[in-house]
Amino acid sequence: MTTTSPSTAAPSASQTPLPADWRDLFALTKPRVMSLVIFTGLCGLVAAPERIHPVLAFTAILCIAMGAGGAAALNQWWEADLDAGMKRTAGRPLPQGRLDRTTARDFAGVLCAASVFLMGFAVGWLAAAILAVSIVYYAVVYTIWLKPRTPQNIVIGGGAGAFPPLIGWVAATGHVSLMPVVLFAIIFFWTPPHFWALALFVKSDYAKVGIPMMPVVAGERSTRRQILAYAVLLLPLSALPWWLPGDEHAGAVYGVSALVLSTAFLLLSIRVGLRERTGPDDTMKPEKQLFAYSVIYLFALFAALVVDRFVVL
């Protein structure tokens, strides 16, 4: 079990500390992850059957981005010690000492609070409440509670990344219905194979800092089988919006895209799920390909949902 507790390293009196650079503050928000969050949130908003004023739609997406950025900054504030021990994250502003933890915490707090209140006042309090839940879910439930304690961290914690389309949808319609819940479920079930593919090729990093990721605790074989199991579940789940009853269901453009994209995801997962590491020189190419494809997959799936709203076959 590994837990971290934030501490602030004080510079020596003879050296003049530099003020925080805006680029480092921006890096705290994990911009690459945020791009996926913004995109899925935007797709949820655009795919919803109701329309809101473009300024309010822009505000909703801005709030989702600010909330995600704030939660990511809280995550880095809490995990600075762990990040320093992993090659993948050692270059981040906090482990590098380019930013102090108090500044990072305050920046994160302001972003999170501003995102929720702006969403509440401008768009709606239901969307704001779900945004607040997603921030707490990621920063507290996942980062502080689950991640250092259980190999199921990414399974349960995956819910945090699944909120954006739900928030986007609720921002547009003002209520929760079946479709955004299915979109939530798609990202929820996509997250384990996505992260475990990564965890397979950076396993030593996680083991070094004592994070109980699935390959570290349950072993590679079990992780590979579980990746496969989630990919199998994802195939019908991704097509579910096509088969939903009522007016909210997606059309054939989405349905066919989902089946094609998910079949490719399943094929790559089969390759990962049924193989073994050949030795210390194994380049882990199938795992890297699955990880890269999983990002493209989610972008393409949600893009298809939006296209489907405007193109009817």
Partner: protein, 43 residues
């Protein structure tokens, strides 16, 4: 603010100016956004 002057080619003043400029633009953007939100809500 834990990096040190000796490790960074940019001066404190340059970093502060650049940060304040970004902060200024962000605040200006926020004020403009609130203005447009008010108009959108009234509509």
């Amino acid at each position: 603010m834990t990096d040190f002057q000796g490790n960074d080619p940019r001066s404190i003043e340059q970093i502060r100016k650049s940060r304040n400029r970004v902060l200024g633009f962000s605040l200006a953007g926020f004020v403009i956004l609130v203005f447009f939100i008010s108009i959108a809500k009234m509509g």
